[in-house]
């Protein structure tokens, strides 16, 4: 009986905490707690402000919408430009004015009206088998669809946000018909039905099922930090595509302030902290992501890959083509 009382007490305590007004800030996060906890702990240590986190994916937007003016959320953390522009266009965010944010985050990495701010960048890179691929054969996303790659390419599902973002980028550079041709040819080059996450593609290269894959760069970073997965990562070369022309496709993780934030002062403090040099460096050290703030020291691994030309296509342009991209993937039957 005691155990049950204790359990109920503990649960009630967790429920009650956010409703007590105190020094705190409430975050709805699409990002896994383990990826942001170190930064949030750093913030709480420095300011004494407690950060409450709700992590979820499917339905977060609907929860925010339905809760309306009474939502406890002060901040929204998310990955992918699509989600950031979704929360903005749903009218769930507010414009934030902060000189600190403006100084730390470059123009291209934040919303014109200040509704969302990028925190880190992730590059969509190409990896190739060290043994079986001549890196000169594949230097751009366009090369993925070339005849030389027949039966050799692996990717995750074409409906996943990262593949949709890539396709949306192709649409905004080449127009829809040409992008569709590219996706059709890429589909024809696939070594297997799209499956698994980005890490699984690297593993498949190590195992000889495929020769070439498209992945987000930090998966390489993560594999190099897991003793069991180091051999996978070491079986591939890393290529930053399209260095000769527009640069490598980048997506972002970012933050936005909820329209009905109750702790907006604390929320702003947290935003500024996450854009600060210290937190930005932690993102690079712990998660292997590229800091948006220029001049922040990169982690050793990122330094080893070196600087590269980034595609500076307007992120909202990519967001705008997402719907077309996912339908295009349906038409070419990418996942079949």
């Amino acid at each position: 009986m005691k155990a049950i009382n204790l359990a109920i007490g503990l649960v009630l305590a967790t429920v009650a905490v956010p409703s007590l007004a105190g020094q705190e800030v409430n975050v709805y996060s699409y990002r896994q707690p383990r990826l942001i906890e170190p930064m949030l702990d750093g913030f709480t240590e420095g300011t004494g402000i407690k950060v409450n986190v709700l992590y979820a994916k499917k339905g977060m937007l609907e929860r925010l919408k339905s809760e309306g003016v009474n939502t406890p959320a002060d901040l929204i953390f998310t990955v992918d430009i699509g989600r950031l522009s979704d929360v903005k266009s749903a009218g769930l965010t507010q414009a934030v004015n902060s000189d600190t944010l403006d100084a730390n985050i470059p123009d291209s990495q934040r919303d014109d009206e200040g509704h969302w701010y990028g925190l880190t960048q992730r590059a969509r890179i190409i990896v190739t088998s060290k043994d079986r691929v001549n890196v000169d054969d594949i230097q751009s996303y366009e090369d993925l669809a070339s005849d030389k790659m027949q039966g050799r390419v692996c990717t995750r599902s074409g409906k996943h946000a990262y593949m949709v973002g890539l396709t949306a980028m192709m649409i905004s550079y080449h127009g829809e018909p040409e992008a569709e041709q590219w996706a059709t040819d890429l589909k024809a080059n696939l070594a297997r039905k799209p499956q698994g996450n980005d890490r699984a593609q690297v593993k498949a290269i190590k195992e000889g099922e495929c020769d070439v894959a498209v992945i987000n760069h930090y998966y390489m970073f993560n594999m190099l930090n897991d003793p069991k997965q180091v051999p996978w990562a070491e079986s591939v070369n890393v290529i930053f595509p399209n260095q000769a022309d527009r640069g490598t496709h980048m997506n972002i993780s970012g933050m936005a302030m909820s329209k009905y934030a109750k702790n907006s002062e604390n929320a702003l403090k947290l935003m500024e902290y996450l854009a600060s040099g210290k937190a930005q460096q932690m993102y690079s050290e712990i998660n292997g992501e590229y800091p948006v703030q220029e001049g922040v020291e990169w982690s050793e691994q990122l330094k080893m890959w070196g600087d590269f030309k980034r595609d500076n296509l307007d992120l909202t342009d990519i967001a705008a083509h997402r719907g077309a991209a996912i339908k295009l993937m349906d038409r070419v039957g990418y996942d079949n």
């Binding site: 359990a7 992590y55 979820a56 609907e62 929860r63 339905s66 946000a161 996450n197 997402r322």
Partner: protein, 567 residues
């Protein structure tokens, strides 16, 4: 009211007119609450962002439908064969370890489908031990050097889901076989029918309602699964639904797909119902006459042991061993002292959900019986079961909408009349999570209790009511002892299912609140299988507690069981 009042078993018609029937009012109320999220989804389906169907029909819809049907057919056949055959063996044959297998056959229920999928992928994929061994024996090097069945395929998906879902059928079929009077079966044997023919012609038809409930539950679970099919790249309707909702940002379109799936399930179930509407099976008297189990001669009995061992080994022993193995390898990165709290949270939420699901199911099922299975009560019990036919994340949105609307309404009233804000009272509390569990799993408890209660002859109610017992006394004094097994089964399955539930927990929970399932998810969602293993192991272990405890209670409560020694 008066019309149904007249139908009520043994109730005086005159008195009835002046009395509110609390049984029916209660049933209506809870059924209405349970169907609220489904109604919210249907409401959403009326307002799509754009008409999604022309695009879907011309592109992926035929593929979605095809793979959905193949998957459901495959899983349906698999759970039926495994569940019914093992249930039949443990109830009608005597063989070594039979008593142990009675509960061990339930064990795979504790394993989430996506976890078993991960474990078998680890075992059977290219880098796994099986293929490594083959390569070292035959001198192959790359995957293209030889052929090996790909576990990440339709066949693999059917196999995985069949392994963890057959216990639904086993549980209900076993309970039905146990409650069957041996008289009919013996009569069939005396008439010269073989053991197998008597099973086919007598026992199976009597157990049909229970088996159908079991298979239907397994199929709905299959229809709504996302974790496994996503990992195995099987593109079912559920995958399409998530594409439309999250990829194209069209919640209304997704709700339309959900509504279509719902209609499909309702059609399927009503077909079955009409198929047997004229049949009704009751136990004839002397239920507790000792049942003789057939003893196969000598070594042949071990074949039965082996047969029952296959699903237990494949569905539990192998995946759990792999899980233990991984947990040890990754212990340092995955152990957190907070596991204790997460486990407590999981146990508390699941316990509450099981309790409420059983109470509400009892109320609705018994009211239906009181009203002699009136059409109205049939409708009520079916409507209350709809939550199971909707994918978890969609159902969660269906919970969010009415809860937030209610909270905001109360808040607006308070602001207007009392001058202060109440904020959100129900949204984002554990109440919302438990509510979602109950809505989602009510079908399980209704199905189990209903199939149990339907086997108790109605002449018993009539006799009891004639003797002057009021309705609730009949339930507590006569029915409860008889259907105890069905009730415990219902509670156990809801409990274990709630332990594993993920999408609704994730989105409805309060801040800083983790259950074992949500904790595992943050790694599993990234296919970080090693890091998620320890948490998954905890889910399995916590799910085992009720499985073992309750299956023992079921065994003990069964008088037939205790006479075994005297045979």
């Amino acid at each position: 009211m008066s019309e149904t009042g007249a139908k009520t078993i043994g109730a005086p018609t005159l008195k009835k007119r002046f009395r509110v029937d609390f049984w029916q009012v209660g049933s209506f109320l809870f059924a209405a609450l349970a169907v609220l999220p489904v109604l919210a989804i249907i409401w959403l389906a009326l307002f799509p962002e754009e008409n999604i169907w022309p695009h879907l029909i011309s592109t992926s819809l035929p593929g979605y439908i095809k793979s959905t049907l193949i998957l459901m057919l495959g899983v349906g056949v698999s759970v039926f064969l495994t569940g019914v055959s093992t249930a039949w063996l443990v109830t009608h044959y005597e063989f070594p370890l039979r008593r142990e297998f009675e509960w061990m056959l339930l064990l795979p229920l504790a394993i989430p489908a996506y976890v078993i999928a991960y474990m078998y992928t680890d075992l059977l994929e290219f880098a796994g031990p099986v293929q490594q061994l083959l390569r070292s024996v035959f001198g192959w090097e790359l995957a293209r050097d030889y052929w090996f069945p790909n576990i990440r395929s339709m066949g693999g998906g059917i196999l995985m889901m069949g392994l963890v879902l057959y216990p639904y059928v086993y549980l209900l079929a076993r309970a039905a076989f146990l409650e069957q009077s041996p008289n009919q079966f013996e009569a069939s044997r005396l008439l010269g029918n073989s053991q197998f023919k008597s099973f086919l012609k007598v026992s199976l038809p009597i157990a049909r309602p229970a088996i159908v409930v079991g298979v239907a539950l397994a199929l709905m679970e299959t229809l709504n699964d996302f974790g496994t099919i996503d990992f195995f790249a099987i593109r079912t309707l559920t995958a399409g639904l998530y594409d439309v909702w999250l990829g194209m940002g069209n919640l209304g379109g997704a709700a339309q797909i959900a509504t279509t799936m719902l209609t499909f399930v309702i059609l399927l179930l009503s077909l079955e119902y009409f198929g047997r509407r004229r049949q009704r099976f009751y136990q004839s008297g002397q239920r507790f006459k000792a049942k003789t189990r057939m003893q196969l001669p000598g070594r042949r009995a071990w074949w039965l042991t082996l047969f029952c061992a296959v699903p237990v080994i494949a569905g539990f022993v192998i995946p759990v061993s792999l899980l233990v193995n991984l947990s040890i390898d990754y212990f340092d990165v995955s152990w957190t002292p907070r596991f204790r709290q997460y486990a407590l949270n999981s146990l508390l939420l699941s316990g509450l959900a099981a309790l409420f699901a059983v109470l509400i199911a009892l109320l609705i099922t018994y009211t239906r019986r009181l009203n002699r299975n009136s059409r109205r009560m049939l409708f009520v019990s079916r409507v209350a079961s709809l939550g199971y036919a909707v994918p978890g994340a969609v159902l969660a949105v269906g919970v969010i909408i009415p809860f937030a609307a209610w909270d905001n309404w109360i808040d607006a009233l308070a602001r207007q009349w009392l001058g202060f804000s109440t904020g959100l009272l129900l949204s984002g509390t554990i109440f919302a999570v438990v509510f979602a569990y109950v809505v989602r799993f009510l079908a399980v408890s209704i199905g189990s209790i209903e199939s149990s209660l339907s086997r108790v002859s109605e002449s018993m109610d009539m006799a009891a009511r004639t003797l002057g017992y009021p309705a609730h006394k009949v339930l507590t004094k006569f029915h409860l002892p008889l259907i105890k097994g069905g009730i415990l089964t219902a509670g156990m399955v809801v409990f274990v299912d709630s332990m594993k539930e993920l999408p609704a927990t994730l989105i409805l929970r309060p801040f800083n609140f983790e259950t074992l399932a949500t904790y595992v998810y943050q790694f599993a969602s990234d296919e970080m299988i090693g890091e998620s293993a320890l948490g998954a192991l905890f889910i399995v272990l916590a799910g085992l507690i009720p499985v073992i405890f309750l299956s023992r209670t079921i065994s003990r409560s069964n008088v037939v069981q205790s006479t075994r020694e005297t045979i």
